[in-house]
Structures are given as structure tokens and as C-alpha cells.
Amino acid sequence: MARPRRPRGLSVLPVAAGVAAVVLLALLPRLVDSPYALHLMVTFFLAVIMGSAWNLIGGYGGQYSVGHAAYFGIGAYTVLILLNTGGLAPWWGLGPALLLAMVVAAVVGSITFRLRGPYFVLASIAVAEIMRLAALNWKDLTNGAEGILLSSVPPLEIAGRVVTRFDSKVPYYYTGLGLAVLVVLVTVWFQGSKVGYYLQAIREDQDAANSLGIPLTLYKNVALVLSAFFTACAGALYGLYVGFIDPQTAVGLDVSVQIVLTAIIGGIGTILGPVVGAALLVALSEGLRSNVLTDLLVAVGIVNPDSAVGGFLRDNLSHAHMLIYGVLVALTILFMPDGVLGGVKNQLRRRRARASAGGAA
């Protein structure tokens, strides 16, 4: 029952579509004058960056880290601390943040990558929890549970001229867009590179990969360090954009779970999977928060707004984020382990196989 696969490499249509999409997105702030829309897009870009970054080590490498909040938190905290207490502009502060994230990733990887499957998952969770507790208790540095409130972001000046001020959502939009495009391009490069091949071999069969000359921990670390780099970028952008971080929102388990969910819902080990996942999750989040879902249920007639259920939903569904995430994780694992994109691909493949079988008969 072998089925032919499309050859590797990019064909014209997807590339053209991608470029068109990016151009449209770049023009969006000029066409649409809604801070809310911009906010949604920034949230979307952040999710794309975080999901795609995880995808490198989790999707392609098969190493499911459920502790990526550690790198997100390092990005957020380092940049904000250096800005608030050191007066260091975030574009300079990003350097130490990324360096720290990469060093921590390399250390964590060297220690935990010898563990197989579920043990690695547990270790990654323990590492993130250790970071969170450190942030919670090192009050002199991080303000502990009170968190850090961003003072203000200085304007970006090049050669004495102000390029942009950070008083609207627009510069965050473009930063987010730029990073998101970058991480997707990196994924494209990654998939066809020696590192990408080796990671996938490790994912498919670690011992076979080892016997073919692949040093396991080295390559896993390369992927993890790259992944931590971009996750920390997302953390820094988040901290600057939202203006407030604390150990729970920046390093909590919920963050790690959301990162994993973004990647697996869309389809792990694919280039666009995290993008699809990000779109779905952000849409769902906003749908919940703005009561759109509840209104939808009412409009369709499933729920009576005056009933007990209706009132309950109206009051509470907007807070049901993590509950819905939990349901989504469960549903995805049970019915769609290859994610939305994977499921679509499988359906297409089945239809093609049926067609060719029918044609041959």
C-alpha cells in the first residue's frame, strides 16, 4: 500500500501564494484602521512564532518538550529587566536574552536528551517549573509574584533620526510579522537541510539514526537551541507588547501547553501546521473572550439566552480558555494526531489512491 509522495522542494504556486500573503499582511495596517484587528494579528504572529519554534524540536525531532515556557520566560524577563532597571533599549537587551536562552537550552538538552520519550517530557516540565519557582522567589531580580510592569519603550533611533515610536500597535505588528515570516522561512530551510533530515531520522527511529552516523544529542541540541532562540524572541515581544509579566503568565505550564497545542493542532512536522494552529487558536480565544461563541450558539438556536445554561455560558465561557484548550488537546490526540493539516493531507492521499486504483481497474 505504498503511496507516492510529492517530491521535496518548493513549487511555484505555494511560494507565490506565500509572497502574496506577506505583502497583504504588510499593507494591512494602512488599509485597516482598527487597533483591535492589529491586536488580534499581533497575538496571531506571536502564536505562529512560538508554535513554529517548538515545531523544530517537537515536530521534526519528535522530542516533545512541554517546558518551552522556560525560554519564553527568559526572553520576556531578560529584556524587561534590562530595560526597566538598566535602561537598556530592548533591541540591545534582546542580545543577552537570546544568548541566555540558547545557553540554557544547550545545558538542558545535554542533560535531558539522553532520556527517552515520556521521561524527556517530564524532565522538560520539571525544568520549566524550576525556572518559574526561581522567578517567583528571586524577588530582588524579578519582583516575584508581583511581576514586572514595563516603564516605557524608548523610540527607535538610527543615526539620530527617530524611525518609530512605540506608542501604537503598529511597530509591534511589523515586528511580529517580520519574526513570523523569518521563523517560517527558517522552517523551510530547516526541513530541507542536513539538520532537518537528521532530526527527522532521529524522530522516526533513534537507534537506526544513530547507527547511520548521527550523533544524537548533538543534533537534538542544535534543534533545541534554534527553537529556544525563537521562543525567547516571542517572549521578549510579548513582554514589550503587553507591558506586564509575572512568573505565571511568562513561565507557567499553561504557556508550555499552549505552545505544544498550537503546533499539534495544526499538524506537527509541517511548515504551515503551526500557522494553521495559531490561526485556529487565536480565533477560538477571541471567539470565547468576546462572547461571539455564546452569541453564535444563541443565534443558531441551540441555547436559549434566558435559560440557566444560556446565562451560565454568557457569564463563564469567556473564562473557559484553558478548559477549551484541554478539550482540544484531547480531541486532537484522540481523533487527529496528525493535526488539521495532517488530516487534510491524509484525506487527499486517500482520495488520490482511490482515484488511481479506480482508474487502473
Partner: protein
Amino acid sequence: MSSAPGAILEMRSVSKFFGGLAANSDVSFSMTQGMILGLIGPNGAGKTTLFNCITGYYPPSRGEIRFKGERMNGLTPDQVCKRGMVRTWQKVRPLAKLSVLDNVVVGALVRTGSVPAAREIAREQLEVVKLGHKAAFLAGGLPIGERKKLEVARVLATKPDLLLLDEVMGGLNPAESEDIIQLILDIKKRGLTQMVIEHDMKAIMRISDRIVVLNSGEKLAEGAPQEVVSNPEVVTAYLGEAHV
């Protein structure tokens, strides 16, 4: 137990213990370049354990393994592969979600950092095993005979000097086995050295220059195929399993 000069592989009193069990016990033999050594013995004799020790899956408990004159004890499998020794698996291990071509590319990448160059090597090796027409297929969907060929192509792509084949004919029909035998003989013509574990005695007799017989972890006999096969101890060890 003298070391043979110019030997490509030397096994010197290799033993492997698991707890109290001696899976390999004081096994010694050597191989010269270009030869095919058949490694036979009843089930549980320690053949795959020996392969695992040689390729670094775990180190031998005692004794020494020398490859091209260099001591190999304690090297990791990837280091062993880089030095020119590679193995196939008794239970095939395709990289299931990758294409047939990509499986072989992974093997080729140990010798080159360039993916396009690796693809070229991969295509060549697929032609050698006659799987070129399936290059775009998912490895996980192949039937068992083609999976075995794929595994051979994959290890050939690592440009090895010594190839260890673990029951590469296991589970194949006669036509498929014949393909593999031809493949092994072709590989020999290219100058590669091979150690072959096999239960199919006819095949072993055809291809081997020398045969080593293991039984209960120990080397029972060694010599030219005809000598070994007529050795009464060997026949006894195989009682009920002889295909000769």
C-alpha cells in the same frame, strides 16, 4: 588468537555478559578485506549480540575489537559508522514517514554536508538495489522485501568498508532471497567486506568465503564452508534446523 596482519576486522576474545548470562564468550576471529564471512548458529547463539558489540550499540564486557587496526571498544554507533562499519537490522527499521529516497539520503549525509550531493549518492544506491522506481514512495508503506533492500541501499550510501547484514533474507520468498544474494555478490565485487548472519544455509554456502559458527555464545567452529558444514559438532548444534 594471533592477530592477522592486514586484517580489516579482528575480534579478540570478545565476551558480553548480561548480569550472569554470557551472551558472547571468548569469541575470536578475523576478516580480511573483500571477504564474505558467514556467521551462523542456532537461535540465541549470540550472533546479533556480537553485531551489537561490534557496532557500538553496547561495549563488549571483555576482549577487544579492532577495525582497520584501530581499537573500537566503547565507541558510539555514530562513531563506528563514520569509521566505515555499518549494519542492517534483524527487524527492519525504515524511517517510516520519510520517502524511500530520503531514507537513503540520511545514510549518504554522513559523508557529505550537501543535501543535493547526498541525493545523487542516494539515487545511485537505489539503482544498485533496484528500488529507483520507488524513490518517492513512503518507506513505511513498502512490502517487507523492498524494506530490506531499502535498508541495504541506506547503509551502502554511508560508503562503508565493512557491512554487517543481520538476517537480511529473513521473511523473504525465494525470488526475493535470490535478489539479495545477487546484491551481496555485487557488493563483494565492489570491494566491500561483509559479515552475514543468516539462517538460510544454502545461501550461506553460496556466498561465504569463510564461516564462523556460534553456539551458546561461544565460537564452535570456523573454516571454509564445506569443512564447517561437515563438522559433526556443528551438525549436532543445529539438530533439527539443518537445511543442508
